[in-house]
Amino acid sequence: MNTRPAPDDRLSAYLDGELDAAERDTVDGYLAESSEWRAERDEIEFARDALRGLPVHEARPGFWEDVLSPDVAKARAGRRSRLPRLVAAGTAAVAVAAVVVASLIIPSPDRVTPRIPALSDSHAVRTSVSDEPVSQLAALSMITPFRK
């Protein structure tokens, strides 16, 4: 029975020298016996070499002068340190504006004036033309002072 596994990520670790001695021996055995393992190793090695062979990519001319310029560095650091304060100030301003707008839009309970006399009159008129029994008793009520 063939117990050799399919090629796996041990091959990359093998190429990078990241396997311990026992794992390396195992992979060496697979490579010696299996063309599939050897083919996979060659493919991975090709990609690895391609990446490692990439030239150093240089920044545009003047980039480092800009980065190291004291004025630019100071401005950049200042811009960053001001940012949280600007955000906080903006949030506070929005909150205040929201409160002001809400106070203008939502009616305050203090501003609801109950028109008791008018309500009382309309109720009296309504009951005078209806046979609603409880309201008919209203005429029998009288104001009595509260006594202890």
């Binding site: 670790a13 493919e43 990446l51 490692r52 150093v56 480092w64």
Partner: protein
């Protein structure tokens, strides 16, 4: 350099070329690479007090990779700015008119730019920044086994992309 800890200007002057190269390989274009480098240098300036003298370029590679991944996440949250995610339909950006074609390197760069970000980060940290797997794992916040898998799959995708463009060994 005082007590082995460089200033951020010294970092920019002495290691800027390395930093820019890693940023460019991650971002795939100069405009984004410039932004990544500037943001990375701001983080360097803030983090220098905590820097333990050691592999400075490894530390820089980790910072710029984190800046890159933060930007990827930010763009994912704002779909209008998002990077294409499916490598099958990514069309690598055409080189600008003033860029001189370097043939095979352009093909490799285009294939690298088309890799999903998690594979690209692992591959760039390994093959461009030359970090060991353990440092890559620490940088990306994933187990070493995941790094091994991402590097292998990234290289295989890259190799397949190069085969499809006729750039085989």
């Amino acid at each position: 350099m005082a007590g082995g800890v460089p200033t951020w200007e010294e970092v920019a002057r002495d290691h800027g070329r390395f930093l820019y190269n890693v940023a460019y390989r991650l971002a795939g274009n100069d405009s984004d690479a410039q932004d990544l480098v500037q943001e990375a240098l701001l983080r360097v300036r803030k983090g220098l007090e905590r820097y333990q003298p050691g592999s400075l370029e490894g530390w820089l590679a980790r910072i710029v990779t984190n800046v890159f991944l933060d930007e990827v996440r930010r763009r994912r949250r704002r779909p209008a700015d998002s990077f294409p995610e499916d490598p099958d339909w990514v069309i690598p950006p055409a080189p600008a008119a003033d860029e001189v074609s370097t043939g095979f390197s352009d093909e490799v760069q285009a294939a690298l730019a088309a890799l999903p970000e998690e594979f690209r980060s692992a591959v760039v940290l390994c093959d461009v920044a030359d970090l060991p797997y353990e440092e890559i794992a620490e940088s990306l916040g994933v187990p070493v086994g995941t790094v091994r898998s991402r590097i292998h799959r990234g290289r295989r995708l890259l190799r397949n992309a190069l085969v499809s463009t006729g750039e085989t060994a």
